[in-house]
C-alpha cells in the first residue's frame, strides 16, 4: 500500500469548529477520541454492532466507527456532551440518572444519542417505537427496562414543557 497522505478536516462538534489532519481510512470515532479529545464517544465493537459510538451527524444518529472522519468534513456532529451539560442536563440525561438507567455507563453515550433523535422526531413514542429506536444500541447491564422507562419519562417531561409554553 502506498504511503498514506493526511488531509485537512474541519468539523463542527457540539457547536464548536475544530480542525485536524487525518488519513483517509481513519474513522470519525478514532479522530473524535484520539485527535479531538472527545473521549465521551465510546468505542465498543468498532464494527457497527453495538452503537456505543453513536453520534448525531447533521441531526441523524450514526455509528462513528462506520463513518470516515473525512465524510464528516464541514458537517455538524453532536456527541452526548452536546445534548446537555451537568448544569443544564437534557430531560433524557436527568431521567437516565433518576431511573437508574445507567450501570457501567458504557452504552449510555450512544443510548442517549439514539433516544435524543427519537424524541426530536416523535415526543410521544410508543414502547415499541422506543425499542426500535434503540435497537442499534447494545446494553449488557440493565436489561433495557430502565432505559426504556427513562426515555418514556423524558418524553413526558418534554411534552409537558411543550404544553406549558402554549
Amino acid at each position: 500500500m502506498s504511503k498514506t497522505k493526511l488531509y485537512p478536516l474541519k468539523i463542527n462538534i457540539n457547536g464548536v469548529w475544530k480542525k485536524a489532519k487525518v488519513a483517509p481510512e481513519e474513522s470519525l470515532l478514532k479522530v473524535l477520541r484520539e485527535k479531538l479529545g472527545h473521549t465521551e464517544v465510546k468505542e465498543g465493537c468498532g464494527k457497527g454492532d453495538c452503537g456505543a459510538c453513536a453520534v448525531l451527524l447533521n441531526g441523524k444518529p450514526v455509528n462513528a466507527c462506520l463513518t470516515l472522519a473525512l465524510q464528516a468534513d464541514q458537517q455538524k456532529v453532536v456527541t452526548v456532551k452536546g445534548i446537555g451539560t451537568p448544569d443544564r442536563p437534557h430531560p433524557l440525561q436527568e431521567s437516565f440518572v433518576k431511573r437508574g438507567a445507567i450501570q457501567c455507563g458504557f452504552c449510555t453515550a450512544g443510548m442517549l444519542v439514539s433516544a435524543k433523535n427519537l424524541l426530536d422526531e416523535n415526543p410521544n413514542p410508543s414502547r415499541d417505537e422506543i425499542k426500535k429506536a434503540i435497537s442499534g444500541n447494545l446494553c449488557r447491564c440493565t436489561g433495557y427496562k430502565k432505559i426504556i422507562e427513562a426515555i418514556e419519562e423524558a418524553a413526558q417531561k418534554i411534552r409537558q414543557t411543550i404544553y406549558d409554553k402554549r
Binding site: A23, P24, G48, L66, L68, L70, A133
Partner: protein
C-alpha cells in the same frame, strides 16, 4: 492512500477510469470501513460518494420508481412511494441492520457489495428491478438484477463502472400480490439466515406468473427459476405447494456458517415458501 470527494458523477467516473491504482468507492461506509479495518481490502485510493447529492432520490414515474444509488436505506424505509408500490422492498429496508446503520447504508452500496445476504436483493429480484450503470466513457447499461451478481461480493460491474440508479417497476394490478420474510438470529442488526421475497400474479388460485427472490442460500442472491416454472400457468393446490417446497430444497445451494447449517437453510427455504404462498393466496381462498 489517497482520498477524493467528487461533487459530480462525471468526476467520479473520470477517477474510476483514470487507472490510478486500485480505487475503492465508498458511500455510507458500513461495508467498506469494516473491510478497510480488517484489511480485506487495501485500495490505493478512496473515492467518497457521500457528497453526490444528485444521486440521492426516490422518484415516482408512471410505470416505475427510480432510486438514486446514494439513497439511504433509512430514506427507503420511510418512503411512502416505496411503501405503496413496492411494500416488500419497504419491509426489507425497515429490517436492514439497525437505525444507526440505515442512516448511512445506501441501496447502491448494498447491491454492489453483493453479499449473498444483501437485504435489498431478494425483493428487488422478485420485483424484477433493473440496475442502471454508467462507466468512464459515459456508457450506460440497464442490467436486469438477476444478471447482476456473479459470486460472493462479486458483480458484473467493471472497474470503471458504477451503479447510477435502480428502476423498480410499479405493479398496480389487483391480481399481483407480494410478500417478504427475513429470518435472522435476532430482530435488530442481524445478517439474514435466509430471506425470501415473493411476487405473484394470481387469480382465483391460478398462477399466471411468479418470481421468487432468495437471500443467504447461495453464493449470490438468487431467483428460484425451476420452482417458478413449476407454478407458472398452474392451479395452486396443496400438492403443488408441497412439490415446490421439495424442488426449492434442491434448487438452493446454501452453506453452513456461524449463523445456520446448510440443512437448516434448505429446510427453511421450503417452509418460507409455504408461508409466503399462504399469505398471498389467503384472500383468494376466502
Amino acid at each position: 492512500m489517497e482520498y477524493y470527494r467528487p461533487q459530480h458523477l462525471k468526476r467520479v467516473l473520470q477517477l474510476l477510469g483514470g487507472g490510478k491504482g486500485k480505487a475503492k468507492l465508498i458511500a455510507g461506509g458500513t461495508n467498506v470501513i469494516p473491510d478497510l479495518r480488517g484489511k480485506t481490502i487495501q485500495p490505493d485510493a478512496l473515492i467518497d460518494l457521500s457528497h453526490l447529492k444528485s444521486l440521492s432520490y426516490i422518484k415516482e414515474g408512471n410505470k416505475s420508481i427510480r432510486l438514486g444509488a446514494l439513497t439511504t436505506i433509512a430514506q427507503m424505509a420511510s418512503s411512502k412511494v416505496i411503501k405503496n408500490y413496492a411494500p416488500i422492498l419497504s419491509e426489507a429496508a425497515q429490517q436492514l441492520g439497525n437505525p444507526l446503520v440505515r442512516n448511512r447504508a445506501t441501496i447502491g452500496g448494498n447491491l454492489s457489495d453483493a453479499s449473498p445476504a444483501a437485504d435489498t436483493a431478494p425483493p428487488l429480484l422478485a420485483l424484477d428491478a433493473r440496475i442502471i450503470t454508467e462507466n468512464a466513457t459515459n456508457n450506460k447499461k440497464a442490467i436486469p438484477i438477476d444478471q447482476f451478481f456473479k459470486g460472493p461480493n462479486q458483480t458484473v460491474l467493471k472497474r470503471d463502472e458504477m451503479i447510477k440508479e435502480i428502476i423498480v417497476p410499479k405493479w398496480t394490478s389487483p391480481h399481483i400480490k407480494t410478500a417478504y420474510i427475513k429470518l435472522g438470529l435476532r430482530n435488530s442488526m442481524s445478517i439474514s439466515v435466509i430471506s425470501m421475497a415473493l411476487w405473484i400474479d394470481v387469480e382465483e388460485m391460478f398462477c399466471k406468473q411468479i418470481r421468487i427472490g432468495l437471500g443467504a442460500v447461495a453464493p449470490t442472491p438468487i431467483r428460484a427459476l425451476k420452482t417458478e416454472e413449476m407454478v407458472t400457468g398452474k392451479e395452486i393446490t396443496p400438492d403443488l405447494i408441497e412439490a415446490c417446497g421439495s424442488e426449492l430444497k434442491k434448487e438452493v445451494r446454501p452453506i453452513t456458517d456461524i449463523r445456520a447449517s446448510a440443512e437448516y437453510r434448505r429446510e427453511m427455504a421450503s417452509v418460507l415458501f409455504k408461508r409466503l404462498i399462504e399469505r398471498v393466496t389467503f384472500e383468494q381462498r376466502e
